[in-house]
C-alpha cells in the first residue's frame, strides 16, 4: 500500500486538540488522505493517549484500537487526538485535565461533551470527520451543541477494542461529521465484528443514505418534551418533526414511563463500572509515576489523588459505594432492573413505530462554568442516556438555532437499524439544505 503524507496545521481556536499530528501518513482507500480526528480515549499506537487525564500523561499505547486500524486501512490520516471530559466523565469538556474546549459558534459557551474536542474540530472545519465515544450522550450532546452530526451506533456494532473503558456496558465508538453522508461513510469503515471484542456483532454497515422516508412511523415520547426542556428547543424540534411529517412520516405520540428511573440507573451503572475500570491507573505501569520509595498503597493513593480530577474522583467514589457489600442490592442490582425496564419500554414502542424522535439535549450549549453543580450537569443527560441503557442506535442532526446556537434533533431506532436512523437524519438534512 502506497504511503503518503498530508500537511495538517489548522488554527485551533477552540482548543479542540490535545495532540496534533502535523504530517500524518496515510494509505489508499475510501478515506484516502482525509484527516480524521480521534478522541483521546481511543488508543493510537505511537501517539500519546491520555483520556484528557493527568494520570495518563505520557502514556503512548503500543497498539492501535480496532477502529484506528480500520481507519488506517481505509487510507485515513490520523490528524490528532481531541480533547474531552476526563475519561468521558462530563457533558461540557470542561472536565478535561488539561484545558477546556470552547464552542466554535460562541467562545463563551461549551462545546458539549464528553466528545467536545471531536465535535468542535468538525464544526470549526478543521477536519471533515472525527471519532467520538458515547457512554450517555457523549457523541450526540456535542454534535447538538456544535451543530454537527453524530451517531451512537447500536451497542456491539463497533468494536471497543482499544477504547479506554469508562462504562463498558454502555459505551460505543461512533462517527461525527459535518453532514449525514460523511457520518455514514465513516460508519462504513468502523462497523463490523472484531474477535478481540467479544461483545461485538458481525453486523457490518454498508449503506448509502436514502432520503425516502414515506410511510415511516415516528414515535414522539411525551417525556422528551416535558419539564426541564427549553421551550424554544422543543419548538425547534417540533418544527423538524413537522417537516419529517411533510416528507411522509407519521408522528405517533408515545410514552416511556421507565425514563423516570433512567438517569439514576445510568449514573449507578456507569460509576460502578468506572470505579473498577479506573482502578488500574495506579502509577505502576504507565502514566504518572508512583513514588517507589513509599509503600505501595500510599504510593497508589498519592498518584490517584494527584492524577484524577474532581469529577473523576467523585464518580469513582460513587461507583465504589454502589458496589460495596450491603449496598450492591440496593443500587447496582436495582439499576440493572431499571435498565431492563428501559429496554422493555423501547422494545415495546419500537414494535409500533420505526423510530423515536425528540430533542438531543434539553437546552442549547451552556455558558462556560454554568454547570458548576454536578447534579444539574447530570440532569442534562436525561434525553441521551436512554439509548445507551437500551443499546439502540441514536443520531443527532442539526435542526435550527436558538439564540444563534445550534439545536439537535435526535432520532433513535431499533437495535442494528443504524441505517434507518441515518436515513431519517439524511432526509431531514436534505430538506433543510434545499
Amino acid at each position: 500500500m502506497a504511503e503518503h503524507t498530508i500537511q495538517f496545521a489548522p488554527l485551533d481556536r477552540c482548543h479542540a486538540f490535545l495532540t496534533l499530528c502535523k504530517t500524518p501518513v496515510h494509505g489508499d482507500g475510501v478515506l484516502a488522505g482525509i484527516p480524521v480526528a480521534v478522541k483521546d480515549n481511543i488508543s493510537t499506537q505511537g501517539i500519546e493517549t491520555t483520556c484528557a487525564s493527568k494520570i495518563l500523561k505520557g502514556y503512548v499505547p503500543p497498539y492501535d484500537a480496532h477502529v484506528v486500524t480500520l481507519l488506517k486501512q481505509a487510507g485515513a490520516a490520523i490528524a490528532g487526538k481531541t480533547n474531552m471530559d476526563e475519561f468521558g466523565m462530563g457533558t461540557t469538556t470542561e472536565n478535561s485535565g488539561f484545558f477546556p474546549t470552547t464552542n466554535p459558534h460562541d467562545p463563551t459557551r461549551v462545546p458539549g461533551g464528553s466528545s467536545g474536542g471531536s465535535a468542535a474540530a468538525v464544526a470549526a472545519g478543521m477536519v471533515p470527520m472525527a471519532l467520538g465515544t458515547d457512554t450517555g450522550g457523549s457523541i450526540r450532546c456535542p454534535a447538538a451543541f456544535c451543530g454537527c452530526v453524530g451517531l451512537k451506533p447500536t451497542y456491539g456494532r463497533v468494536s471497543r477494542y482499544g477504547l479506554i473503558a469508562y462504562a463498558n456496558s454502555l459505551e460505543q465508538i461512533g462517527p461525527l461529521a459535518g453532514n449525514v453522508t460523511d457520518v455514514s461513510r465513516l460508519m462504513q469503515v468502523i462497523a463490523g465484528y472484531d474477535p478481540r471484542d467479544t461483545t461485538s456483532y458481525d453486523r457490518p454497515y454498508a449503506h448509502m443514505p436514502e432520503a425516502d422516508i414515506a410511510g415511516l412511523k415516528m414515535g414522539i415520547p411525551e417525556e422528551y418534551f416535558g419539564a426541564g426542556v427549553d421551550p424554544a428547543v422543543a419548538a425547534s424540534v417540533h418544527r423538524a418533526i413537522d417537516q419529517l411529517e411533510a416528507l411522509g412520516a407519521t408522528p405517533v405520540p408515545c410514552s416511556i414511563p421507565s425514563m423516570a428511573y433512567a438517569l439514576a440507573a445510568y449514573y449507578v451503572i456507569c460509576t460502578s463500572e468506572a470505579s473498577s475500570n479506573l482502578a488500574r491507573f495506579d502509577g505502576v505501569r504507565y502514566g504518572l509515576c508512583a513514588d517507589t520509595k513509599k509503600s505501595w498503597h500510599d504510593a497508589y493513593r498519592e498518584v490517584r489523588r494527584a492524577g484524577f480530577g474532581t469529577e473523576v474522583r467523585r464518580r469513582i467514589m460513587l461507583g465504589t459505594f454502589a458496589l460495596s457489600s450491603g449496598y450492591y442490592g440496593k443500587y447496582y442490582a436495582k439499576a440493572q432492573v431499571a435498565r431492563e425496564n428501559v429496554k422493555k419500554d423501547f422494545t415495546r414502542i419500537l414494535s409500533d413505530v420505526d423510530v423515536i424522535v425528540g430533542p438531543t439535549m434539553p437546552t442549547i450549549a451552556f455558558k462556560l462554568g454554568e454547570k458548576a453543580d454536578p447534579l444539574s450537569m447530570y440532569l442534562s443527560d436525561i434525553l441521551t442516556v436512554p439509548a445507551n441503557l437500551a443499546g439502540i442506535p441514536a443520531i443527532s442532526v442539526p435542526c435550527g438555532k436558538v439564540q444563534g446556537m445550534p439545536v439537535g434533533l435526535q432520532v433513535m431506532g431499533r437495535p442494528f437499524e443504524d441505517e434507518r436512523v441515518i436515513d431519517v437524519a439524511f432526509s431531514y438534512e436534505q430538506v433543510v439544505r434545499s
Binding site: I42, S43, T49, C51, L56, Y59, P61, P62, Y63, A65, R160, Y161, G162, L163, I164, A165, A167, N168, S169, P195, R196, D197, T198, T199, S272, E273, S275, S276, A279, R280, F281, D282, V284, R285, Y286, T292, K293, W296, H297, Y300, T320, L323, S324, S325, Y328, Y332
Partner: protein
C-alpha cells in the same frame, strides 16, 4: 496426634495446562523465560484492551466438572473481583462469583476409618492467575519488589470442597486424588512449579473456623493443618477462644501467621464482567469423552497385573507413575509383581529423596534392571545401588549407563554361583571373629547374624544373605571325627 473432632474444607487452585492464557493468546510456557516476556496489552491490563475467553480452558474445566460428577450450570458468568495489589494488572481479577461454571459433585477418598468416603464439592469455577511479585533487596539497602506479569492471565480452576474432611491426612488424600484426576484428564501438570495453591478452612468442632491461605505444596497442606490443629487445641485447652480469621502459611517455617485484622478485610465489590458475555456451555457436557480415571485404572491394575490393592493405589495415584509402570512391564509381563513392588516402594522413595521427576528415567532401563533382579543376577541390595547410580547420573547429565554396564563396572554380580570365592570369604570371616564363632557354637543365635553381616560387608552386598547363612553354617558344622 489425635485428630478427632476436626473439620476441614479445601479451596484448591490449579493452573489449567492450556497452551495460551485465559483471555489472550500469550503462551503459558513462561517458566524458563525472563520476566515480562509472555505478555501483551490484554494480560498487562493496558488501557483499552479487552478479554477474549479461551474456549479450551473452559473445555478443560468442564472435563474436570464431568469427572468429578458436578452439574454444569446452564448460564454461568464471569465477574470482577476488585482489589488493589501491584501484581494485579487491572486492579481486578476476572473470576466467577455467584454463577460458577459448575456446582456439586464429589471426590471419593479412602477414609481414616478405612473404606471409601465421599467428599462433597461445593463448586468449580474458572479464573485468571495474577502476576507475581519478586521481593528484592535487604533491610539495610532498602527493600523493593519487582513485578512479573508472565503468570498474569494463566487459567486457573478453583475447586471448593464442603467441610467434609476429618483429618489432615484425609485432606492430603483428597488432594492426591484430585491431582491424579486432573492429570488423568490431561488438564493439569502437577510438576510445574506453582501450579497448585490451596486455601484450607479448619476448625475444631464447636469452635470458630480459621482460613489458612497460601499453601503451595501437597506436603504443605498436611503440615499447615497439623500446625493449626495443635495451635487451636492448645488455645481451647488454655480456655481461650479460637478467633475467626485468615492466616498465612509460611512454608519455610511450617507455621501459620495471622494475616490481617477485620478492619482491613477486603470488600471485593464483585459485579458481572461487562466485557464478556454469559457462558452457555451446558450442552458441551455430553460431547466430553472422559479417559480412564484413577479408580478405574487401579481396579484394572489389580485385575490385569495382579497388583496388590496398596501397590495399585500407589501406582495409579500419579499419572506418571502409572504410565511408567505400564511401560516397564509392557515388554515383559512376567515382571508385573516385581516391578510393582520396585516402583511403588523403592523407586518412588528414591525419586522423592532426589526431588526428581520419573520422566528422567527411561522405562526400558528399568525393565532391564528388574530383569537382572528377577534372574537373580544381582541382589536386591545391589539393585538399589544400581538404581541410585542411574538416578544420580541422570540428574547430573540427563543420560546414564545401562543397568548391566553399572553392574559390570561396580562388579555387583551376585557371587553365589562362585562357590570358591565365597568359601574364601567365609574362611576369612571365621578366622577374624573367633568370639562370634564360639558364641554360635554355644548356641547364641545372634552370632550367626553377625557373621553373615561381616560376610555381606566383604562381598559389598553382592551375595545373597540366604546363601551366606547356609555356607557359614556348613563351615561351622562340627566335623565328625
Amino acid at each position: 496426634m489425635t485428630e478427632t473432632g476436626i473439620i476441614v474444607g479445601l479451596e484448591v487452585h490449579c493452573q489449567l495446562d492450556t497452551k495460551s492464557k485465559l483471555f489472550c493468546g500469550c503462551s503459558t510456557d513462561y517458566r524458563s523465560d525472563g520476566p515480562n516476556t509472555h505478555v501483551c496489552p490484554v494480560c498487562l491490563g493496558l488501557p483499552g484492551s479487552m478479554p477474549v475467553l479461551n474456549k479450551r480452558a473452559i473445555e478443560f474445566a468442564m472435563r474436570v466438572a464431568k469427572a468429578l460428577n458436578c452439574t454444569v450450570i446452564r448460564e454461568s458468568e464471569f465477574s470482577r473481583k476488585n482489589y488493589f495489589y501491584p501484581d494485579l494488572d487491572k486492579a481486578y481479577q476476572i473470576t466467577q462469583y455467584d454463577k460458577p461454571l459448575a456446582e456439586g459433585g464429589y471426590i471419593e477418598i479412602e477414609s481414616d476409618e478405612g473404606g471409601e468416603k465421599r467428599v462433597q464439592l461445593t463448586r468449580i469455577h474458572v479464573e485468571e492467575d495474577p502476576g507475581r511479585l519478586v521481593h528484592m533487596g535487604n533491610p539495610e539497602r532498602g527493600k523493593y519488589s519487582l513485578v512479573d506479569y508472565n503468570r498474569a492471565g494463566i487459567p486457573l480452576i478453583e475447586i471448593v470442597s464442603e467441610p467434609d474432611m476429618r483429618s489432615a491426612k484425609e485432606a492430603r488424600k483428597f488432594l492426591n486424588k484430585l491431582r491424579a484426576t486432573l492429570e488423568y484428564l490431561g488438564v493439569f501438570d502437577s510438576e510445574k512449579e506453582g501450579s497448585l495453591r490451596v486455601d484450607a478452612n479448619i476448625s475444631i468442632v464447636g469452635s470458630e473456623r480459621v482460613e489458612v491461605k497460601n499453601i503451595s505444596s501437597y506436603k504443605g497442606v498436611e503440615k499447615a493443618l497439623n500446625f493449626e490443629v495443635t495451635r487451636q487445641k492448645n488455645l481451647i485447652r488454655r480456655g481461650l477462644k479460637v478467633e475467626r480469621e485468615t492466616r498465612h502459611f509460611l512454608e519455610g517455617r511450617g507455621i501459620t501467621q495471622s494475616a490481617r485484622s477485620k478492619e482491613q478485610e477486603h470488600d471485593y465489590r464483585y459485579f458481572p464482567e461487562p466485557d464478556l458475555r454469559p457462558l452457555q456451555v451446558q450442552s458441551w457436557v455430553k460431547d466430553i469423552v472422559l479417559p480412564e480415571l484413577p479408580d478405574a485404572r487401579r481396579e484394572r491394575f489389580i485385575a490385569q497385573y495382579g497388583c496388590s490393592l496398596n501397590h495399585a493405589r500407589t501406582l495409579t495415584g500419579e499419572l506418571r507413575l502409572a504410565n511408567f509402570f505400564e511401560r516397564v512391564v509392557a515388554p515383559d509381563t512376567g515382571l508385573c509383581s516385581l516391578a510393582a513392588t520396585w516402583i511403588a516402594d523403592t523407586l518412588k522413595g528414591e525419586l522423592n529423596y532426589r526431588d526428581m521427576s520419573i520422566d528422567a528415567l527411561d522405562p526400558g532401563s528399568f525393565t532391564r534392571l528388574c530383569q537382572l533382579v528377577k534372574s537373580d543376577t544381582i541382589t536386591d541390595k545391589s539393585a538399589i545401588e544400581v538404581l541410585r547410580v542411574m538416578l544420580d547420573e541422570r540428574r547430573a547429565a540427563h543420560t546414564c549407563e545401562t543397568p548391566i554396564e553399572i553392574v559390570n563396572r561396580l562388579n555387583l554380580k551376585k557371587t553365589s554361583g562362585d562357590a570358591s570365592a565365597l568359601t574364601a570369604i567365609i574362611r576369612e570371616v571365621i578366622a577374624e571373629n573367633a568370639k562370634a564363632v564360639e558364641d554360635y557354637r554355644a548356641g547364641k543365635n545372634g552370632a550367626m547374624n553377625f557373621l553373615v553381616g561381616c560376610a555381606m560387608k566383604k562381598t559389598r552386598g553382592r551375595s545373597d544373605p540366604k546363601d551366606l547363612n547356609r555356607e557359614i553354617a556348613l563351615a561351622l558344622k562340627p566335623v565328625d571325627v
